[in-house]
Amino acid sequence: MIQIQNLKKSFRTEEVETLALNNVNMNIAEGEFAAIMGPSGCGKSTLLNIIGMLDNPTEGSYQFAGHEVGGLKERQRTQLRKGNLGFVFQSFNLIDELTVYENVELPLIYLKMNKTERREKVKSVLERMKIAHREKHFPQQLSGGQQQRVAISRAVVTNPKLILADEPTGNLDSKNGIEVMNLLTELNQEGTTIVMVTHSDRDSHYAHRVINLFDGQIVTESQNRAMGAML
């Protein structure tokens, strides 16, 4: 599903050019659950943003489901992203002005789905995530765990092929964190590919494969034989 070859990303400030990613090569197969780990500043999030088509690589190739993404215009990236990708963030990133229901509905609106269909999908995903009773609430009225459940609902409501999670448990206590990880595992078992950036060893054990990044380069890759061993 994801093929990355000789990927480079550099940031330029007025005087310094910083190389955030250097010659990254990786493949992620459909149905895989991969964790990207590494110390602060190693380039995890940059890599995730490129995979999520929020950012363009400076050099190299990134193919998503057979499409070359590097070099696409923003409008084209948006088009490719719609419906194919779901995002889960550490800080949830819900829109404060929208209710739970409306937040989850938003990606469907951008897909220009009609209202009845939208309602059906949103209701079912909210029920599945056990947050349906809160659909009229605004994000600030929810606990952190509940907010992340809403965010995950929003990420999956379009049935994306790929979910990108950027430290999804970083702002949660351990109980809520475990709950979120179980949800992601469940989604993965149903066939959704997941790429997750994490600091947490515990969370990384949910993944099939752990990719360790250091100073913008992949240093090790390891397979987790015992999936969910820490449960």
């Binding site: 999030s45 943003n49 999520g52 929020l54 950012d55 923003e74 409008r75 948006t78 088009q79 992203r81 719609k82 419906g83 995002f87 963030f89 800080s91 990133n93 819900l94 829109i95 404060d96 002005e97 929208l98 409306e102 938003l106 990606p107 609106i109 951008y110 897909l111 929003r154």
Partner: protein, 810 residues
């Protein structure tokens, strides 16, 4: 999608009441100001357009230079109208109006007079030319007979009621009996005859039938045939000079030709002005109603535009500053699949919503402010709520304003990069500071400019009011229409003179403040060539004139009762003496006459020279003037001693009522009469103040909001600085100086512009102030002080926050 946008917009406005308030209130104030100014300008442009065929009606103007005096006249000689009708086939009709001034009027059997302040003689063609229907009476015969008059509805109701008016008699000035030949509707408030209530038949007015080509006293209107072109009339109009004027003038100046007339530097130029242009483009020596000027319309248009621009800049600044808070939303929407154009649309809908809310608020503000605005501008404007086009224009304007104000923030915010704003909470990526700063500079530049304008207008007004006018207008009481009293007037003067509270009394209609005027050509004995003509005011006054008005003699003596020969003496002013090319000491004893071409001219001996005093607006130079001894019974000027004026006035009124029972006691202070000359400037001054305050208010709202957001953005920085030992004062200083620098730049830009613009404005005045450096300094200081007050509060607030709190937000 639209609903979703609208919903989000509404909720985000509700969640940020402070921001929403600043934004909508600022915009509403700007809109309300813009709306009122638009209505004002619309009204200004509506003048005289209600007359049928207004687009074919023109007035003849005459520009004259003769005898050392220059006159921009709006009137021509009496025979002109008939000659034009005869000579120009493209003219459909002509009509003349001669201003008669005020008139005392009563039914013959009534005892008390009422005063009609604006009366005019009119030709019987008047009604047809202006398409005016009579409410009662016959339009074809009205004003065809001598001693008939037509009343407006208001005037008719005052005396008889409309239906009974026809055929009734009225006594004018206690002497002439006129018959009412018709009643017309009141002249519209936006017409050139708005103040006129009585039209008398020109038919019975002797002067109008005379061939007095050079007595320019008749407003002459022509109506072109529908297919005629004004240019074809305008060009040959000048031929009237050779065809009629020169042959007439040759009676007095034998041998004068067009060439010798022009060679002497004199001229008489005829021109036309469209009826509908009179209100805004005509500013001549006499007008039937006080006109406005296109310059003021331009000034107001600019102020209105500035106001709206200021408000819309506020909107842009506050919105982009506020975008710190919206960055996250933009990022999320982008990750969820929204593209740029959808985001732009969303933000534009939001600004549209704000504009619309502001419009509702603006209409409320305008409605509340309307009476004050009418008072300020001297108009009676109403908001045309029932007019479909008004709403159409308003909605289009508001939609445009929403788009205009919203476009920059929309493009600005939709450009946010999702990856960055979601990561860092958006802080680092949100810039736009440079544009925002430029907009603040622009706003303050406009405000400083308006402050300078206000200061200069008021200084000039103060200068006019306190200028040494060459006469003392203080403590002088004027009693008008004294002619109605007849031969008892001298006794009344005597009695008033006896009052302890009165220092001096003079009886004459010729006052230095607006009143009678009369000018004529004079000649030094033995020098009757046209190039030696002395065109000057000749005023008839009594022995007490100079002393009552405290005018200074610089040579010779005043009129004296011991010299009976003073009946043929004159006192000239400095301008007249200068025109004769003589020194004040040398002019004494020479003889002048105004009776050119007559068999036995009367000569007047110059016995004194009076220091120049202002008798026209300070916009004009002081013209030549001669005082002559005689009886003019138009008004009494009474110099009161300092003390209780109301008591003195009471005593004078008692004398009046006893000696002249039933006659109007019509008094005012000369000071007030003087001030009427400067109403236009005073109006402009007041309008300047109001809109300057408004623009500063709007600019401050914007600055206040920006300061708030700035402080918020720098919360962390402030916290760190405090942890490191900075004091509240140091931080406040730091936050405030950033804005002060912007105001400083604005001041530098607007000082030269303001100075230049106001110097131009002052050029209209012959007597004017110099714009002192302190005016500019004061404007700069005011702008700075206002900015410090606005920003200071936010800065101190931000600087006082406990650093633990400000650092925790990270």
């Amino acid at each position: 999608m639209f609903k979703n946008h609208l919903k989000i917009a509404w909720r985000s406005l509700k969640r940020q009441p402070f921001f929403t308030f600043l934004n909508t209130f600022g915009l509403a104030v700007g809109m309300a100001g813009g709306l009122l100014i638009s209505l004002y300008i619309y009204d200004e442009f509506s003048y005289d357009k209600m007359f049928a065929d207004a687009d074919r009606i023109y007035r003849i103007n005459a520009d004259i230079k003769f005898g050392g005096s220059i006159m921009k006249g709006s009137e021509v000689g009496a025979p002109m109208a008939a000659a034009i009708k005869r000579d120009f086939p493209q003219i459909e009709s002509v009509t003349r109006i001669r201003d008669r001034g005020g008139l005392l009027i009563r039914k013959p059997e009534a005892e008390a007079n009422t005063k009609e302040s604006n009366v005019a003689f009119a030709d019987s063609t008047f009604f047809k030319m202006f398409g005016i229907d009579l409410l009662v009476g016959d339009v074809t015969s009205a004003l065809t007979e001598p001693n008939t008059l037509v009343l407006t509805k208001t005037a008719a109701e005052k005396h008889f009621g409309i239906q009974n008016a026809l055929g009734q008699q009225l006594l004018l000035n206690n002497t002439d009996t006129y018959t009412v030949a018709g009643v017309i509707p009141d002249f519209p408030k936006n017409s050139f005859l708005r103040d006129h209530d009585v039209l008398m038949a020109m038919a019975g007015f002797n002067d109008a039938q005379q061939m007095l080509w050079t007595s320019h006293n008749y407003f002459t209107f022509v109506k072109l045939l529908p297919e005629a072109d004004i240019a074809d009339f305008q060009a040959p109009l000048q031929s009237m000079l050779e065809a009629y004027i020169l042959p007439y003038v040759q009676q007095f100046y034998p041998g004068m030709t067009a060439e010798s007339f022009a060679a002497s530097g004199n001229y008489l130029k005829y021109s036309t002005i469209a009826l509908t242009d009179i209100h805004l483009h005509s500013n001549r020596s006499s007008e039937l109603s006080a006109n406005s000027s296109i310059q003021n319309v331009y000034i107001l248009s600019f102020i209105g535009l500035f106001l709206i621009l200021l408000a819309s800049i506020n909107f842009m600044n506050l919105s982009t500053a506020h975008s710190l808070k919206r960055a996250k939303e933009v990022g999320i929407r982008k990750t969820l699949g929204s593209n740029k154009s959808e985001l732009i649309r969303q933000f534009l809908i939001e600004s549209g919503l704000i504009s619309f809310i502001s419009l509702l608020l603006a209409l409320t503000i305008a409605l509340i402010a309307l009476p004050f605005f009418n008072d300020l501008s001297g108009k009676s404007i109403a908001i045309p709520f029932t007019n479909f086009f008004f709403w159409m224009i308003l909605l289009v304007a508001v939609a445009f304003l929403g788009l205009f104000s919203g476009s920059y923030p929309a493009f600005f915010m939709s450009r946010f990069v999702a990856a960055t704003v979601l990561k860092g909470g958006g802080q680092s990526s949100v810039g736009g500071g440079k544009i925002r700063n430029s907009l603040v500079v622009f706003q303050f530049a406009i405000s400083v400019f308006l402050i300078i304008g206000t200061l200069v207008v008021f200084q000039q007004l103060k200068y006019i009011q306190s200028k040494d006018l060459g006469f003392a207008k203080d403590q002088v009481l004027l009693i008008d229409d004294t002619f109605a009293v007849g031969n008892k007037l001298l006794s009344i003067k005597e009695e008033i003179q006896q009052l302890g509270q009165v220092s001096s009394v003079t009886l004459t209609g010729y006052m230095p403040t607006p009143s009678y005027r009369n000018d004529n050509s004079f000649f030094k004995e033995g020098a009757t060539e046209q190039e030696n003509a002395l065109q000057m005011q000749n005023w008839v006054v009594d022995h007490d004139y100079l002393s009552t008005l405290n005018m200074q003699l610089i040579a010779g003596r005043n009129f004296d009762k011991r010299y009976p020969t003073d009946s043929t003496a004159t006192i000239l002013n400095e301008s007249a003496v200068a025109r004769l090319g003589m020194a004040p000491e040398d002019v004494l004893g020479i003889r002048i006459s105004g009776d050119l071409g007559q068999e036995s001219p009367v000569f007047y001996t110059v016995i004194g020279v009076v220091k120049n005093f202002h008798f026209a607006s300070l916009r004009e130079d002081i013209g030549a003037l001669g005082l002559f001894l005689g009886s003019s019974n138009g008004a009494l000027a009474i110099k009161l001693k300092a003390g209780n004026f109301s008591n003195a006035i009471g005593n004078i009124e008692n004398i009046w009522n006893r000696m002249a029972p039933g006659q109007l006691f019509n008094y005012r202070f000369m000071e007030d009469s003087f001030n009427t000359t400067y109403q236009a400037e005073q109006k402009l001054g007041r309008i300047f103040v109001v809109f300057t305050v408004l623009s500063i208010l709007i600019a401050c709202l914007g600055l206040f909001g920006l300061a708030a957001f700035n402080a918020e953005k720098r919360t962390k920085e402030i916290g760190i600085r405090k942890v490191l030992g900075a004091s509240v004062g140091q931080i406040t200083y730091r936050l405030t100086t950033d804005f002060l620098r912007l105001v400083g730049i604005a001041v530098l830009i607007s000082l030269p512009l303001g100075w230049y613009a106001m110097s131009k404005w002052l050029e209209d005045f012959s007597y004017k102030i110099e714009i002192g450096w302190w005016v500019l300094a004061l404007a700069a200081f005011l702008a700075g002080a206002i900015a410090i007050l606005t920003v200071g509060y936010q800065s101190i607030k931000a600087a006082s926050i406990n650093p633990v709190k400000s650092l925790r937000t990270e």
